[in-house]
């Protein structure tokens, strides 16, 4: 008489001796193994997943040509030559290289500071630009002709404004691939539309070697 039977009312008969009442099983189950497995899988997927999907940088290189008329001549006022040296050393000059008694425009800087130099050069070119409606119309016609859908007035204006700006990139043998890609990336960051990768000349190479204090090979 110590325990109270549940649901005993309503004309229910008492179980006789020897008839055991079915034990009520708990609906709670031990979830620990399942959770363990779940976390194991989470860890597995976290480690195998590639969150940063690789992207690509487009690079077009010019055909090598010796024909004078096919070569693009850069205007001296808008040319900036950037050379990549050892480590993060970067060398640059504007226009033509001058290292004689009349002056020296060969300058050294670091990878992290090159953006300012590019932007200064760009601002310099842009300051000399006066709005040229014909150029803009020509560009727009060209986009339509080539069926380039994602280019519009903004692109045409920008392209005309920096018509004269050309950045020439010359990596040396000591330059790393990272610096090469970084400088190309810098072109997209600074929105420089015309740039070219060119082989370094022996004179420039020598200048860099002297600056870096390496023995000059003659």
């Amino acid at each position: 008489m110590a325990s109270i039977e549940e649901g005993g009312g309503g004309g229910g008969h008492k179980p006789g001796p020897g008839v055991k009442k079915a034990k009520k099983l708990s609906t709670r189950i031990d979830m620990t193994p399942m959770v363990d497995l779940g976390f194991l899988l989470i860890t597995f997927f976290i480690f195998t997943t590639t969150m940063t999907s690789p992207t690509t940088l487009k690079l077009n290189v010019p055909k090598e040509t010796n024909k004078e008329e096919e070569q693009n001549k850069a205007k001296e006022s808008g040319a900036l030559t950037i050379m990549l040296g050892k480590g993060n050393n970067v060398y640059y000059y504007e226009g033509q290289l001058k290292v004689d008694a009349s002056g020296n425009n060969f300058k050294a800087t670091k990878m992290g500071e090159i953006r300012k130099i590019i932007l200064d050069k760009k601002a310099d070119v842009l300051s000399r630009y006066t709005r040229n409606q014909k150029c803009i119309d020509d560009k727009l016609a060209e986009y339509r002709k080539k069926n380039i859908k994602d280019k519009g007035l903004t692109d045409a204006e920008e392209s005309c404004a920096q018509e004269d700006l050309v950045v020439v990139i010359k990596p040396t043998e000591e330059a790393t691939y990272k610096n090469t890609v970084d400088i190309l990336d810098e072109m997209s960051i600074c929105r420089v539309l015309k740039y070219a990768m060119v082989k370094i000349t022996p004179q420039e190479n020598e200048l860099i070697k002297i600056t870096e204090g390496q023995p000059v090979s003659k």
Binding site: T49, S53, T56, N60, R115, G152, Y177, K178, D185, R191
Partner: protein, 223 residues
């Protein structure tokens, strides 16, 4: 003094919400995950702000590892026979005298970085042996012995043979590799009249206040 009885609480907590969250995260990762493509050598590509996606098909990938070794691979998940076609073409181009079996085994090789002279030996080796094989990389530095030229030529022929889609050229270089190797790769491509490449990079954010950011904003306004 009557002692204060602290009621005993059960240590078993209800883990259900916790488990719910755990499985939610699990399902997220299962759906969002994209397995890393097999890599022969770990390559750490430099970052860039460009966000064009990497193609998975109809592409030729040239990898440069940190030591400057060059590897060649064909990305063609849709058409595995394409790989065989490449090595077939290479075989006829350079008269390598590869057996049919060796050419078949090329289909299971992800990236190859051995000189042409050792290619037959490499392809007849078993999978375990191939892993131990010392791969010096495809020679590119000297223009006279630039063997990548032939690999590119063979892949151009193979691509035109099967479907005629032009192969996209991917160059995946390690940031620490030196520029001359990259130049060698580019010169091999140029000699095959290939002038458009895609450099594989990892995505970086656009720097604040940069010209690109201003341009993108202007462009968005125009639309």
């Amino acid at each position: 003094m009557p002692s204060v009885k602290i009621p005993r609480k059960s240590t078993a907590t209800d883990m259900t919400p916790f488990v719910d969250v755990a499985f939610l995260i699990l399902s997220f990762f299962m759906l969002a995950t994209k397995f890393k493509p097999p890599e022969k050598v770990p390559i750490d590509p430099p970052g860039s702000v460009n966000s064009d996606q990497l193609p998975e098909n109809d592409a030729v990938m040239i990898s440069i590892d940190s030591a400057g070794r060059v590897f060649y691979s064909v990305l063609s998940q849709k058409d595995p026979e394409l790989k065989k076609e490449v090595v077939k073409q290479l075989n006829t181009l350079r008269t390598l005298n590869l057996t049919d079996q060796q050419m078949n085994s090329f289909m299971n090789v992800f990236a190859v970085g051995v000189p042409l002279a050792n290619l037959g030996q490499y392809l007849s080796a078993s999978k375990d042996e191939q892993e131990k094989f010392v791969e010096p990389g495809i020679p590119v530095l000297d223009s006279a012995t630039n063997e990548l030229v032939w690999w590119i030529n063979a892949s151009q022929k193979a691509f035109s043979e099967r479907g005629g889609v032009k192969a996209q050229i991917l160059i995946k270089g390690d940031g620490r590799s030196k520029y001359p190797v990259f130049e060698g790769v580019v010169s091999a491509l140029k000699r095959n009249e290939e002038f458009k490449y895609q450099l594989v990079t990892s995505l970086e954010g656009v720097p604040n206040g940069s010209e690109l950011e201003k341009f993108n904003a202007k462009k968005a306004k125009e639309k």
